[in-house]
Symmetry: C2
DNA sequence: GTCTATAGATAGATAGAC
DNA sequence: GTCTATCTATCTATAGAC
């Protein structure tokens, strides 16, 4: 099979999702892909080369996930639960935290993270536009993006059992505000999506 | 001088702020504190012991910084620039990203991150309360906290030259919404605080 | 109690065999 | 082109000298 590279990327992505940036090691990925570490370096000479390749695949997946998450909601507020369900999926959080760290360390990876961020913001802006939020500025979209990132990081780090509800409550408040309604509804709707 | 521990903590914090979680190694910290790595392990037997100690000091500093940032503003919106200036300070971001990662890997560090998050949210809630935002729910405070975290991570990873303005614009929009005014002011006020 | 030499483990990269 | 043995660097931890 010629697709060694494909297998390696898949293995790398799985490792990144499960173990995060510090666990993203050549030996572990090689073992997962069924080859030796020293062989892996033939295809991807350096750890960063591999991370870059894995990052590209991860970005495609993330953007597809964003599309799936934002599609088909009757109102802005109705999307809160769906977004919350994604936000508390720690595997996703580990991936973009790894890209963020790599971007801080290596200029080469910065570009990749920007692609991801810009892609998400563009999709969120389109989503908001569909509900009448003026697209004159990107601010509401950037707000929703940064808020989701922050909620994901906080949930990953605190690991609270009621994380999904908390995130949904905050997102509900944010979406209500963006939609122009009253901001302080104290009773978030029950969330959909899979439990943690 | 008996305060070897104090020196070590300071050195550890400095390393964490400059190099992040992956750069937080015993040899580097020991060199900075002016002793051997093998000596450092006498005071802090394991890397996690050290990170925990450094984390406690870091939390105190962060909470003090939050107080300083939120104090003395004439209106909610006026605080946007000050918050943005903190958000783009990458040294801070590296510290809490390290704590977040450690919290994901080690239950022991989770508690520490919760302390930090809860402390910030409480302070933000008090700040908002001072401007008439009802304190019935913590949602607005949690929103502002998560938003700041997300903006910080995105700015760290993308490293855009106009990061401060972008963050200030989003924060301005968020604070306006929380204050109940129109949300889509497309012209963020010039930001104060130090440049990047 | 204070500090150091040394061991043990694992990561990353290279040269070279098939 | 495909794959492996091996080397170097680096980190963490322990046993033990002063």
């Amino acid at each position: 099979m010629q697709d060694r590279r494909h297998d390696i990327i898949q293995a790398g992505l799985a490792v990144l999702r499960e173990h995060g940036y510090t666990g993203f090691t050549q030996p572990r990925i090689a073992a997962r892909a069924g080859l030796r570490q020293s062989h892996l370096t033939y295809y991807y000479p350096t750890r960063l080369d591999l991370l870059e390749a894995v990052g590209r695949t991860a970005i495609e997946r993330q953007l597809a996930a964003v599309d799936a998450t934002l599609g088909g909601h009757a109102s802005l507020e109705a999307a809160a639960g769906a977004i919350a369900a994604v936000v508390v999926r720690h595997e996703n959080t580990r991936v973009f935290m790894a890209l963020a760290q790599a971007g801080d360390e290596e200029p080469r990876l910065r570009e990749l993270f920007r692609e991801l961020a810009d892609g998400i913001v563009a999709r969120v802006a389109r989503f908001l536009g569909g509900f009448g939020v003026p697209a004159v500025s990107e601010e509401p979209a950037r707000l929703l993006h940064a808020l989701s990132v922050g909620l994901a990081v906080v949930d990953l780090a605190t690991g609270r059992p009621d994380g999904t509800q908390r995130a949904a409550g905050v997102l509900q408040a944010a979406l209500s505000m963006i939609a122009g309604k009253d901001a302080h509804s104290a009773t978030p709707a029950p969330i959909e999506g899979e439990p943690r």
